[in-house]
């Protein structure tokens, strides 16, 4: 993996986290411009970065997200929860891509389709919410009229083939590929590329603009457009153009649109008789007769004629799809009228259209109110489109498409549409939507006067008024957008310089540095031994003193280094906190609960390892609280609590430990239920069931295999939650406790060391070996006269400060065959340690000093020796085995 890619993944994850955070903050403050701008900047930068690599899927989704956010920022689209959901989904997708890139350094092709879908849904939000501005994205797209013109250009032979393919069920697409002008510099050869398009039936190269004089031609600026007709699956086409989806427009082609005869319109034999005969044959379903008649007729006509072309179509359809009665009827009819068969109504009806279907004009009277309403809705949308700014390159296309839509609407309403043509002509001439707008306004006014459908019309009328107001505002808006763009660019520059002060370093490097400093500390500890040897063995006191002086200096530096590296590794708790807003939001919504999450003390710092070790247990606990603790709003209300539950994550520092509390005000834990469950699951026996205290019962949830959930859900209830929590916390030297009041809520507290790097251990001696015991478990050291040791049921015990402490010989626990040694005063050394909530005394031979060591876990197979927490190197080079008293007993 290249360093650049590594950095991209690292930064990308940070950005994703930031994006999710901002989105959730925005849900609370949807109007915050600052948040929005920042969010936009995150997405924008991430998109830009992704463009450096070949991950078009990621870039595409991010690009769509960026466009959507741009629209939101410009207030063209309101910020809604649905929108946030979509964006979060999209970011999840991107995050998944990151995972994949990290493992495989590439993106699987199977993500092409989802990425397209996601991008489309995001874009649909821009268009859907406030119909229309297709933006630069659709620069290559076609209006309906354009695509029909294009289809008419395709030679008959290819159209025949396309029709055959469509008839056998293959989808047809008309692709307009508009390579960017600089594409030649990117090593692309669009001409070669289009020849490789899957399922290519026809293609054509056209000049984008009229050619300039040769002297002014820039042969390396691509001025070509490509029009292609393909019969292939949509995703195959998408995959083919996966790097440049923004440069193509793909429109599904209706097979009916292909049926357009071509050729000279005049001359040829008289067809009146043939039409009558053909219709009779058709009615009798004599298809071979019809085919024969067509063939005979073709032989009589010159092949260039329009009528011959129509006959060839007739022949083709009879052979390939005789069941398309209505289609055949129309084609035959066109022989009579010499007009291209009008199949517009067949398109939507498909093959199932009944033979006796009435022609479209006659159908107007029978339009259902539902359809009427739909038509009015379409008209009102056109009004909205016309209300958009005129200052765009694609205005003519937009005007044409609006006019075509309006004409189609009027046609189905059975009204004359000539005026629209007129208005369109004038609008195109002046490059302004004004004429069409005026026409539409007049038309709508007229409609309200007649009052066919008042409710449906009022809305469009209102819209047209809005339409008049808008164009003046629109340019101002775009200008504002441009200004913002400029500000943003400058904003980024200034931030870049700030960023350079922060160094992003791989954790491995820090770990290595820490290991080295650890060794330095150990090496430094050998100096006092050396000084000692110099004095005792060689009798050179001077040298010994100098070594000691040097040692003091090195010691000070080493300690500072250790402190510095600890500071580097310190991570704020907010690092794990930040994932919770999203999680709580998602889960609570899934469960139908209302939860307010409060994060406190996120700035509390602890060693990175500790913080990371916290992440999973915290997640379990929060899930548990959401799933079992907090009630649904109705239940809460019935219990006299506010509908919205409250979940608090609080972090604080207490001397050298971090305290974490997870507090909910839910239903709490019912000790009786816990006792019963624990008994049923065999976690406790009957005797324990009788005498166990409520607090102890609550702590049973930490027992392995305990889960109270009635059913296993995907949130919790697999019976692994709480014991995993406890063991994870134990592993980093932490403690966890649970308090609960039935009906009032639950508080789970965790206490963790600030740092695991340096462990304070006490060295003890037993049978001439030394062992370490972590200081945080040592309660006290005492020397007990043998007389004070009593034996109860063969178990040695003693009374210390009024409580009974069991005594166990360390030798016995480690299976060393030796008795603990007493000192000259006949006293035994007892190390009192804390094990869980109880105390126990370890009988050892002698106590030694307390040292700071860097505890290394036992490697490989030795790690299974649970009774040792790890090893440490001492200053004289010897290895100290550090005991884990919790596992000893």
């Amino acid at each position: 993996m290249t360093p650049l890619l590594k950095q991209f993944i690292q930064e990308g994850r940070d950005f994703l986290q930031g994006i999710a955070g901002k989105l959730i903050e925005l849900e609370k403050a949807p109007d915050s411009v600052a948040l929005m701008t920042e969010l936009f900047r995150f997405v924008h930068t991430l998109k830009g970065n992704s463009g450096l690599f070949e991950f078009p899927e990621m870039t595409r989704v991010l690009h769509a997200g960026e466009d959507l956010l741009d629209a939101v920022r410009d207030k063209r689209v309101p910020f809604t929860q649905q929108l946030a959901d979509q964006l979060l989904d999209a970011m999840d997708f991107v995050s998944m891509l990151f995972d994949e890139i990290e493992t495989h350094e590439s993106v699987n092709m199977s993500h092409v389709e989802p990425s397209n879908e996601l991008a489309e849904t995001l874009r649909a939000l821009i268009i859907g919410e406030k119909c229309a501005d297709p933006g630069p994205v659709a620069s290559a797209s076609l209006t309906v009229a354009d695509s029909l013109d294009l289809l008419a250009n395709i030679p008959e032979k290819q159209r025949f083939e396309a029709w055959r393919r469509a008839n056998s069920g293959e989808p047809l697409f008309l692709i307009v590929y508009r390579p960017e002008a600089e594409c030649f510099f990117k090593g692309e050869d669009p001409l070669h590329q289009v020849q490789q398009v899957p399922g290519l039936l026809w293609g054509s190269v056209v000049a984008r603009n009229t050619w300039p004089p040769l002297t002014e031609l820039d042969c390396y600026s691509c001025q070509l457009d490509f029009h292609l007709l393909v019969a292939a699956k949509r995703n195959a086409v998408d995959e083919f153009f996966r790097y440049t989806p923004e440069q193509i427009s793909i429109d599904a082609v209706d097979a009916y649109d292909l049926v357009t005869p071509e050729g000279h319109p005049n001359g040829g034999p008289v067809y009146g008789d043939f039409v009558a005969e053909a219709l009779t044959l058709l009615d009798n379903r004599d298809y071979s007769g019809l085919a024969m008649a067509a063939r005979t007729m073709l032989e009589l006509s010159s092949p260039e004629q329009w009528l011959s072309s129509a006959l060839r179509w007739l022949q083709l359809i009879v052979e390939e799809a005789p069941h398309q009665q209505e289609l055949l009827r129309r084609v035959i009819g066109s022989l009579n009228t010499l007009q291209k068969p009008d199949l517009a109504d067949l398109k939507t009806a498909g093959l199932a259209i009944p033979v006796e279907a009435t022609p479209s004009v006659a159908a107007t009277t029978s339009l259902s109110t539902e359809n009427l309403e739909k038509i009015h809705k379409i008209i009102s949308v056109q009004a909205e489109i016309l209300a958009l700014s005129d200052a765009v390159d694609w205005l003519p296309g937009r005007l044409k498409s609006v006019a075509a839509t309006l004409k189609a609407c009027l046609a189905s309403l059975g009204e004359a549409a000539e005026e629209i043509d007129d208005a369109l002509r004038r609008a195109l001439a002046e490059n302004s939507a004004r004429f069409l707008r005026e026409w539409l306004k007049a038309y709508l006014k007229n409609q309200t006067a007649i009052a066919i459908d008042t409710t449906a019309i009022q809305q469009p009328a209102g819209l047209t008024e809005q339409a008049q107001g808008l164009p003046e505002q629109a340019p101002a808006l775009t200008e504002q957008a441009q200004n913002l763009e400029v500000e943003n660019k400058f904003g980024r520059r200034s931030e870049d310089t700030q960023l350079s002060k922060v160094l992003k370093v791989d954790q491995e490097k820090i770990d290595r540095l820490m290991d080295l400093i650890g060794e330095m500390v150990v090496a430094k500890n050998s100096l006092p031994y050396l000084a000692n040897r110099a004095e005792v063995q060689f009798g050179v006191r001077e040298i010994s003193r100098e070594i000691k002086a040097q040692y003091a200096v090195i010691n000070r530096i080493a300690e500072e280094m250790q402190d510095a590296i600890m500071q580097v590794r310190m991570t704020p708790v907010s690092f794990v906190f930040q994932r919770f807003p999203r999680m709580v939001r998602d889960i609570s919504r899934k469960l139908g609960k209302e939860v307010e999450l409060l994060l406190e003390g996120g700035e509390t710092e602890a060693d990175k390892n500790i913080i990371e070790a916290l992440a999973d247990p915290l997640m379990h606990i929060v899930r548990n609280s959401l799933d079992h603790g907090l009630e649904t709003p109705d239940v809460r209300e019935a219990a006299g609590k506010p509908r919205t539950g409250r979940l608090i994550l609080r972090a604080s520092q207490e001397s050298d430990r971090v305290l974490l509390e997870i507090i909910d005000d839910g239903r709490g834990i019912n000790p009786a239920v816990i006792k019963q469950k624990a008994y049923e699951k065999g976690v406790i026996d009957e005797a324990t069931l009788e005498r166990i205290s409520d607090q102890d019962a609550i702590n049973l949830v930490f027992a392995a295999g305990f889960s109270t959930a009635e059913a296993v859900s995907d949130l919790s209830g697999r019976g692994v939650g709480m014991d995993v929590v406890r063991s994870a916390i134990d592993k980093v030297g932490g403690a966890v406790s649970l308090n609960s009041q039935t009906g009032k809520g639950t508080t789970l507290s965790m206490s963790l060391p600030l740092s695991m790097a340096v462990t304070n251990v006490m060295i003890i001696e037993s049978d001439r070996q030394i062992f370490g015991v972590p200081m945080d478990l040592v309660v006290e050291t005492v020397r007990l006269p043998l007389a004070e040791i009593q034996t109860i049921k063969r178990q040695k015990t003693t009374v210390l400060r009024g409580s009974i402490v069991p005594l166990v010989a360390l030798n016995e626990l480690l299976e060393i065959n030796a008795e603990p040694l007493a000192n000259a005063d006949n006293e035994l050394a007892v190390l009192v340690v804390r094990v869980g909530n109880e105390q126990a005394g370890l009988l050892v031979d002698n106590f030694r000093e307390v040292v700071d060591v860097i505890l290394k876990p036992l490697p490989g197979e030795l790690a299974r020796l649970k009774s040792y927490a790890g090893t440490a190197l001492l200053g004289d080079g010897s290895v100290l085995m550090v005991l884990n008293p919790k596992e000893l007993f």
Partner: protein
């Protein structure tokens, strides 16, 4: 050399790369009446095609390959 310039004819040969477009354009500017022979052309980069489309020289021979010839005639024959 995948375009051979002989007197008044530019003869395209095999695969004509993007680098040729510059020279082709220059040649066509200097020889407005120059003809183009595409008989042995198996592919040309879009940049070359665009020069031909803009300059509209007379094409004296087309390639044999039907599909490829179709693209060229469609683009270069005046409609």
């Amino acid at each position: 050399m995948s375009i051979e310039y002989q007197n008044m004819t530019a003869k395209f040969d095999g695969f004509v790369s993007v680098d040729e477009a510059d020279q082709l354009l220059q040649w066509l500017q200097e020889n407005p009446k120059g003809c183009v022979n595409l008989a042995d052309c198996r592919h040309m980069h879009a940049a070359n095609l665009q020069v031909l489309m803009a300059a509209k020289p007379a094409i004296i021979a087309w390639p044999d390959d039907v599909g490829w010839c179709g693209w060229l005639t469609d683009a270069l024959e005046s409609k």
